[in-house]
Amino acid sequence: MSARIATWWTILRICLEERLVYRGDFALGTLMRFLPIVTQIFLWYAIFEARGSSALAGYSYEEFVAYYLLTMVSRAFSSMPGLASGITRQIRDGEIKKYLIQPVDMLGFLFLSRFAHKIAYYSVAIGPFALVFFLCRGYFHNLPAEAATHSPATAAAFAASLVMSFVLGFYLEASLGLIGFWWLEVSSLLFVYMLFNFFLSGHMFPLDMLPQPWRAIFDAIPLKYLAYYPAAVFLGKVKHADLAIDLCVQFAWVVFFIGLSRFMFQRGLKRYSGFGG
């Protein structure tokens, strides 16, 4: 156990150091991440202005802005840049062999290092995040009673859905990457996934805006937990009665993708060693 903590600590430290060596990149990168929100805020202001001031799909203008800021938080948890492509590259280059030889579990190791990466990222990014949320605190003033700012139960559900979105994001992308065992060129598939993720996770707009039957369809697939769902919970868009069930569904998805990736990994390795690498 202590050996594991030592490994974990080493990974964490290396991640942090890696980030700090390239100061130019680092400073720009953290700041720039908030720029797209600025254009979104202006876009929606212009739209609300043209509509008069009535709510759009149940969102006021303030809630829209708050929504975008909150999806930034959920994306900070759920996005896994380079994970799937990294796994396929390891499979293609034969680097995967070392997991056949060494007593290391690949998915566990990747999860751990991703976790460390995220911690390293948050520990630095919390500054800009706090600053932006402080500057934009006005948008969080008139939230309903069921929002996380008023209800501890909602706040707890928000936290739970965030943590699960990290795990879900990881195992979902890992499963995609493991397709590389069967299919050598996964990059186009990954692009399609990224496309879906971008438009359908709620990153671009609250899914409530969609007309039926699209709304029902996108509600049923797990992508919404990567961006839309935590933000909607925070804003009190999800009724308390539904919270428990929804979180259970999210948890079920998490379990499903953990199982799926484990299964794929076992089958893939078997197939791989069958070929003789």
């Binding site: 430290r13 942090l16 150091e17 700090l20 060596v21 100061r23 680092f26």
Partner: protein, 349 residues
């Protein structure tokens, strides 16, 4: 006037010194520590038209940097150079049309395309007339025996074939000066030999001037009459290949063939025994004491045959490198108190 003239050429650059540890990395965010690396420390050299000169030296000696300076890829921090009357780092098109640089460890051909497409691109870039282009290409690929590979994507070629293609690409515009940086690195013996032969023929035939760096003594011995030994950014030797032995090796190797198996006893009085396989023995003998020693041996032993040789070239050069390394190491240590010879904050000499 010499075709290549270097005068006090030097190059130093700064590298960011990454600190170990988290706190140090954090500090690096605000204040960085740099280290000056002196790659070339004042080189004077003249090369005449039609010469084939080899640069020898251990890794990091400054050979590649010198070639890059002469190609104008990088600018020097001091000194002057003229190649065919041009200052290389002004990068005039008139100059760039007249030389070529081939680097064994890098390739400039399009990886996914057949080599002939890259050649065509060179034709456009160097403005080679179509007939001349076709003639030169066929001549070069014919000599190198790669004419049938022109239509294959470069990624499907073997390392040796790729190097031959790189050479062809570099020579398409018939340069007057050619810089070769480790052209045979990583190649098998057959391919090495083939490229050596080609270079030898091409150079003699066209009378172009070639500067070559290589780790393979065979390349150098086969191709170059003149050798420049560079170590720690300075020229340590400049002359013929055999001259290295004369100036850096103070001994000869004497092979003795005795009449009987027992007679080699007591030989260590005359020099260091390199090999003792009765009835044969090899002995290192001080050059100055050679005749005296030989006479003494012949007087005291029953010798059937004597061969006197120079020590092997590789050995001499290897010991020369280590000697230079040790000397400059001690020098730098005395000067700055650190153990890294490269790291000194002093300005360039």
């Amino acid at each position: 006037m010499s075709i290549i003239e270097l005068c006090g050429l030097s190059k130093s650059y700064r590298v960011y010194q990454k600190q170990e540890g988290l706190l140090a990395s954090l500090r690096g965010l605000f204040r960085r520590e740099y280290r000056d690396v002196h790659a070339v420390r004042g080189i004077d050299l003249r090369v005449e038209q039609g010469e084939f000169v080899a640069f020898l030296g251990p890794n990091g000696a400054g050979k590649t940097t010198t070639l890059k300076l002469l190609s104008g890829v990088i600018s020097p921090s001091g000194g002057e150079a003229r190649v065919m009357g041009h200052v290389p780092w002004k990068r005039e098109n008139a100059y760039r049309r007249r030389f070529a640089l081939v680097m064994g460890q890098k390739n400039q051909l399009w990886w996914d395309l057949p080599a002939q497409e890259s050649f065509r691109l060179h034709q456009q870039i160097y403005r080679i007339a179509p007939e001349q282009f076709a003639r030169t290409r066929d001549e070069l690929t014919g000599m190198l025996g790669i004419g049938n590979l022109l239509r294959q994507p470069v990624r499907e070629l073997s390392l040796g074939e790729r190097m031959k293609m790189e050479l062809t690409a570099a020579l398409l515009h018939s340069p007057d000066v050619l810089f070769l940086d480790e052209p045979t690195i990583g190649l098998d013996v057959v391919a090495q030999h083939k490229i050596q032969q080609f270079l030898k023929y091409y150079q003699q035939h066209r009378q172009i001037t070639i500067l070559l760096t290589s780790h393979y003594m065979k390349d150098v011995a086969a191709l170059c009459r003149r050798v420049v030994v560079i170590a720690k950014g300075r020229i340590e030797y400049n002359g013929s290949l055999n001259g290295i032995i004369d100036s850096f090796s103070g001994h000869k190797v004497v092979t003795l063939q005795f009449a009987t198996d027992q007679s080699s006893a007591g030989l260590e009085r005359f020099g260091q025994i390199v090999e003792d396989q009765p009835p044969r023995a090899k002995l290192r003998v001080e050059r100055s004491a050679l005749t005296r020693t030989l006479a003494a041996i012949l007087a005291q032993y029953a010798v059937e045959d004597v061969v006197v040789e120079d020590p092997p070239l590789e050995e001499v050069i290897a010991s020369l490198f280590t000697q230079v390394e040790r000397d400059s190491g001690a020098e730098a240590q005395a000067a700055s108190g650190t153990d890294s010879a490269d790291a000194s904050t002093a300005g360039v000499a």
